[in-house]
C-alpha cells in the first residue's frame, strides 16, 4: 500500500498540474481530462479512476485551488445525477472495464447521465416497478415506461432498474443496467407539470436492446445495487449554514417590508410564526452540518427535507393571500424546459405551485415521516402484505 498523501503533497500535485496545463491556454476538455488523469478529479476515488484514494474531506482543498487558478469546472449542476448517483454505483458494482469506460467521460461532463427508476405505478414503492428486461442471447430486451426523469432529453446514458423475474417477490426479481439513451426504442417526452413548465421527462422503452455487458451487479441483485444509488441521493440534503432569511421566507419578508399596502395586521402573527419556523429550520440545518462535520451523522436529513417542503408551501400560500389582486395573476403558462429551478424571479403564483412538488419529489413527505417514525423512533413498521408474494400476483 502506498503511503498516504498529505495535504501538502496534494497541493504540490495541483500546482504541478496547473503548471503543465495552464488553464488560460488549455482547452476546457483537455484540462478536465488532465485533471482526471492526474487523480485530482474526485480525490476519494481510487487511483486510475480520477482519484487518489484520499479522504473526502480534502476535496474542498482541490476545488479551492483550481477555482483560484481560474480553471474550468465540470459543471457539477448539469451532471449532478451522474456524479451523485451513477458514479458511486458504477464504482461499487461495475467491473474494471465498465469503470474505465464510463467514469472519465462522466466526470468530465462529456456524457450526461439520467436515472430511470420511477414509474407511473411505482413511486414511493419503487420495488414494485414493472419495466421488463428479458434475456435474448448476449442482450436484454427492455420494455416499459419510466417517469420523473430529469435531464433525459440531454442524457447519453441512463441507470436503469428493470424486472428480470416476475415470479419471485418484488425485491428479488430486479436487475440493474446501464442504458444507452441513443439506442433504438428509447423515446423521451417532456412531462409538463402544473406550473406550465417541464422540468422532467417520461421515457418510453420499446424493445430496447441492452448488452449484458452493461449490467451492473448480478441478475436479481438490482434492488441491492439501487440502494447504493438512492443512499447517495440523500447525502446531498442538509446544505449547511445559509444566512438568515434565505429562500422563500426572504421573499415574503421583503414583500412585507417593501410593500406596506400588503401588510394585513390580521396576518402579522402568521408571518412571524413562519419567520420563526424558517429560522428554526435554518438553525437546525446549521446544527446538522456541525454534526456531520463532527462525524455524528444524524437522521435530520429526512427531517430537513420534510420541514423545507412544509415551510415552502405555507410561506408561498401566505404570500398569495397577502398580495390580494396581484396574487390572482400569473406570469406565464407557456410550456418551457427550464435549466434549473428557482423560486425567485418568478411570480408568487409560480412559487405557490412549484412548492407543491417539494413534498412529492425525491421522497414524499409521507414516506419521510415513515422513515423518521420507524428508523429514528423505532416504531413498528406497517404490516407488509407484499413481502412473500410473487411480483406478478401483487394487487396493482
Amino acid at each position: 500500500m502506498p503511503p498516504l498523501i498529505t495535504q501538502h503533497d496534494l497541493e504540490n500535485r495541483i500546482q504541478d498540474l496547473l503548471a503543465a496545463h495552464d488553464p488560460g491556454t488549455t482547452s476546457r476538455l483537455d484540462f478536465l481530462h488532465a485533471r482526471f488523469d492526474a487523480g485530482l478529479a474526485w480525490l476519494h476515488y481510487p487511483p486510475g479512476l480520477g482519484g487518489l484514494g484520499l479522504p473526502r474531506g480534502l476535496q474542498p482543498v482541490a476545488e479551492k485551488a483550481f477555482a483560484a487558478a481560474g480553471a474550468p469546472d465540470n459543471e457539477p449542476q448539469r451532471i449532478g445525477i451522474g456524479l451523485g448517483m451513477a458514479a458511486p454505483t458504477i464504482l461499487g458494482f461495475g467491473n474494471d472495464e465498465q469503470k474505465q469506460r464510463w467514469l472519465r467521460p462522466l466526470w468530465c461532463g462529456e456524457q450526461v447521465w439520467c436515472q430511470l427508476f420511477s414509474e407511473p405505478g411505482a413511486g414511493s414503492d419503487l420495488a414494485a416497478l414493472a419495466t421488463r428486461a428479458v434475456r435474448d442471447g448476449e442482450d436484454w430486451i427492455v420494455n416499459g415506461q419510466k417517469v420523473w426523469t430529469s435531464m433525459a432529453h440531454e442524457a447519453r446514458w441512463a441507470i436503469l432498474v428493470a424486472r428480470t423475474d416476475p415470479d419471485v417477490p418484488k425485491h428479488q426479481g430486479l436487475t440493474y443496467f446501464v442504458l444507452d439513451m441513443t439506442a433504438p426504442g428509447v423515446e423521451v417526452r417532456p412531462l409538463r407539470q402544473l406550473t406550465g413548465e417541464a422540468e422532467f421527462n417520461e421515457v418510453f422503452l420499446t424493445d430496447v436492446r441492452v448488452p449484458d455487458g452493461q449490467r451492473l451487479g448480478a441478475v436479481g441483485e438490482g434492488w441491492k445495487v439501487a440502494q447504493t444509488t438512492l443512499m447517495n441521493e440523500r447525502v446531498a440534503i442538509g446544505g449547511g449554514a445559509a444566512p438568515r432569511e434565505s429562500g422563500m421566507i426572504g421573499v415574503l419578508a421583503s414583500a412585507w417590508r417593501e410593500q406596506p399596502e400588503v401588510r394585513d395586521p390580521a396576518l402579522h402573527d402568521r408571518l412571524l410564526t413562519l419567520w420563526v419556523a424558517a429560522e428554526a429550520a435554518r438553525l437546525t440545518a446549521m446544527r446538522l452540518s456541525a454534526q456531520l462535520a463532527a462525524g455524528q451523522p444524524g437522521p435530520e436529513g429526512s427531517a430537513a427535507k420534510y420541514a423545507f417542503a412544509s415551510l415552502n408551501q405555507q410561506i408561498s400560500g401566505l404570500e398569495l393571500e397577502l398580495l390580494g389582486e396581484q396574487g390572482l395573476r400569473y406570469d406565464d403558462w407557456t410550456m418551457r424546459r427550464p435549466e434549473t429551478v428557482s423560486f425567485v424571479g418568478r411570480s408568487p403564483g409560480y412559487r405557490y405551485l412549484r412548492a407543491k412538488g417539494n413534498s412529492i419529489e425525491g421522497g414524499t413527505s409521507e414516506i419521510l415521516l415513515n422513515i423518521i417514525a420507524e428508523r429514528v423512533l423505532g416504531l413498528p413498521g406497517e404490516i407488509r402484505v407484499d413481502k412473500d408474494v410473487a411480483w406478478k400476483d401483487l394487487p396493482r
Binding site: 400560500g317 389582486e325 390572482l328 395573476r329 400569473y330 403564483g349 406497517e382 394487487p395
Partner: protein, 373 residues
C-alpha cells in the same frame, strides 16, 4: 330555520340538471384543453346553461322573464359549477344581476334601464359583469380609477362618458354589458365600447381581464355604491357554495384514487395517516355545507355575519381540499395532464376573490363586537 340548511326538492332537481349537463359538456379534459385555446370561456356551454336551464336569469323576477329564484338556487348551481371548475361567467353575471336588482329596488336610479337589462339577461340575450377587481371584498369602500366626464353630468345622464382603468375583472371577457362604478355612481357601458385585455390568470378556468375605458359612453344606473356592496355580498355568499362544490369534488376524486392506487401491496387509502387526513377534510366539508347553506338562507344583518363566516370557512376548506388532492395523488397530481391543478388554482384564487379569509374575519370582528384591541 334549521330546515333551510337542507336542500329542497326543487333545488336538488336543479342541481341534477346542471350536473348532467356539465358531465356531458365540461369533462375536465375539455376544460383543461380550453385553458390553452383562444377562447378561455365556454360560451356554448354558457348559452345552454344560461338560456336552456335558465341559470342566467335565476335571480330575475318572473315579471321580467326570469326564474324569480333566490340565492339558494344560485348556490346550488354554483356548487355544481365548482365541482366542474366550468369556464362559464355564472358568478360574474350573477353579481351583475344582483347589482341590477339592488339598483332597481334602491329607487336611486333608472329602474327602466335595470329592467331592460334584467329582461335581456333572463332571455339569455346578454351577459353582464361588474367592472371591479375580483379581489375586492363586499365591505371595502371602493375607490376606482374610472372617472366620468363631464362632471357634473349633463341633464341627460345617458350622455356620460367614462375614462379610466379597472384591473383583474372576473367574467368580463364574455360579457356584453359592463356595470361600472365610477365617481360614486354606477354606469352601464357596452362591453364593445371598452378595451378588454385578457390577463394571464392563476385560475386558468376563470380568466380575468383588465379594462380600459377611453371616453366610453355610459348610462347612469344608480347613484351611490350601496347596490354594489349588496351585489358583492350576494356574490360572496354564492362563491362559498362554489368553494364547497370544489372541495367535495377534490375529496371525491382523491378518495377514489387512494382506493385504487396500490403501493407496498396495499391501497394507499388503507394507511391511517391518509385516512385521518381525509376524514378531517370530510368533517370540514360537512361544516362548509352548513355554513354555505346558511349564508344563502338568511338576510339583513344576519346575512352579513353569515357571509363573512362562510367566506372565512369555505375558502380555507376549498384550498385544503385542493392541496390534499394534489399531495395524495403524488407525482401524477403534480402534472399538467391531471385535473388536480385546475382545482388548486381555482381554490387558491377563489380564496383571494371577494376578500381573503383574514379580511372576512376582520369584518366579523366588527360585526360581533370582538375588536382587535
Amino acid at each position: 330555520m334549521s330546515e333551510a340548511l337542507l336542500y329542497s326538492e326543487p333545488e336538488e332537481e336543479l342541481s341534477a340538471a346542471v350536473a348532467d349537463l356539465l358531465a356531458d359538456r365540461a369533462a375536465w379534459a375539455s376544460v383543461l384543453a380550453r385553458t390553452e385555446s383562444a377562447e378561455p370561456y365556454d360560451t356554448g356551454l354558457w348559452k345552454t346553461l344560461g338560456g336552456g336551464i335558465g341559470v342566467a336569469g335565476l335571480l330575475v323576477p318572473e315579471e321580467l322573464g326570469g326564474a324569480g329564484a333566490s340565492l339558494r338556487e344560485a348556490a346550488v348551481v354554483a356548487e355544481e359549477l365548482g365541482k366542474a371548475v366550468a369556464p362559464v361567467p355564472f358568478l360574474g353575471n350573477l353579481t351583475a344581476t344582483a347589482l341590477l336588482l339592488a339598483a332597481r329596488e334602491s329607487g336611486n336610479g333608472t329602474a327602466a334601464l335595470a329592467d331592460d337589462l334584467l329582461r335581456r339577461i333572463a332571455a339569455g340575450e346578454q351577459t353582464a359583469a361588474v367592472a371591479i377587481p375580483f379581489s375586492r371584498s363586499p365591505d371595502t369602500t371602493y375607490r376606482g380609477k374610472v372617472s366620468v366626464t363631464p362632471w357634473p353630468p349633463r341633464e341627460d345622464p345617458h350622455e356620460a362618458r367614462l375614462t379610466g382603468r379597472v384591473t383583474s375583472v372576473a367574467d368580463a371577457l364574455p360579457a356584453d354589458v359592463l356595470l361600472v362604478p365610477a365617481d360614486g355612481s354606477i354606469y352601464v357601458v357596452q362591453a364593445a365600447d371598452a378595451q378588454r385585455t385578457p390577463v394571464t390568470t392563476l385560475d386558468m378556468t376563470r380568466v380575468l381581464c383588465d379594462i380600459e375605458f377611453d371616453d366610453a359612453p355610459g348610462q347612469m344606473l344608480a347613484i351611490g355604491y350601496a347596490p354594489l356592496a349588496q351585489a358583492l355580498l350576494s356574490a360572496a355568499a354564492v362563491l362559498a357554495s362554489e368553494q364547497l362544490g370544489l372541495a367535495e369534488q377534490c375529496l371525491k376524486t382523491t378518495v377514489e384514487y387512494v382506493k385504487t392506487r396500490h403501493q407496498f401491496g396495499r391501497a394507499v387509502g388503507s394507511y391511517q395517516g391518509l385516512k385521518h387526513r381525509l376524514a378531517q377534510l370530510w368533517v370540514q366539508i360537512a361544516q362548509a355545507r352548513a355554513v354555505a347553506r346558511y349564508a344563502v338562507s338568511t338576510s339583513g344583518d344576519e346575512q352579513v355575519i353569515a357571509v363573512a363566516v362562510a367566506q372565512a370557512h369555505c375558502s380555507a376548506v376549498a384550498v385544503q381540499a385542493a392541496e390534499e388532492c394534489v399531495q395524495m395523488h403524488g407525482g401524477i397530481g403534480f402534472t399538467w395532464e391531471h385535473p388536480a391543478h385546475l382545482y388548486l388554482k381555482r381554490a387558491k384564487s377563489a380564496s383571494i376573490a371577494l376578500g381573503s379569509p383574514a379580511r372576512h374575519r376582520r369584518r366579523l370582528a366588527e360585526l360581533v363586537d370582538l375588536p382587535a384591541s
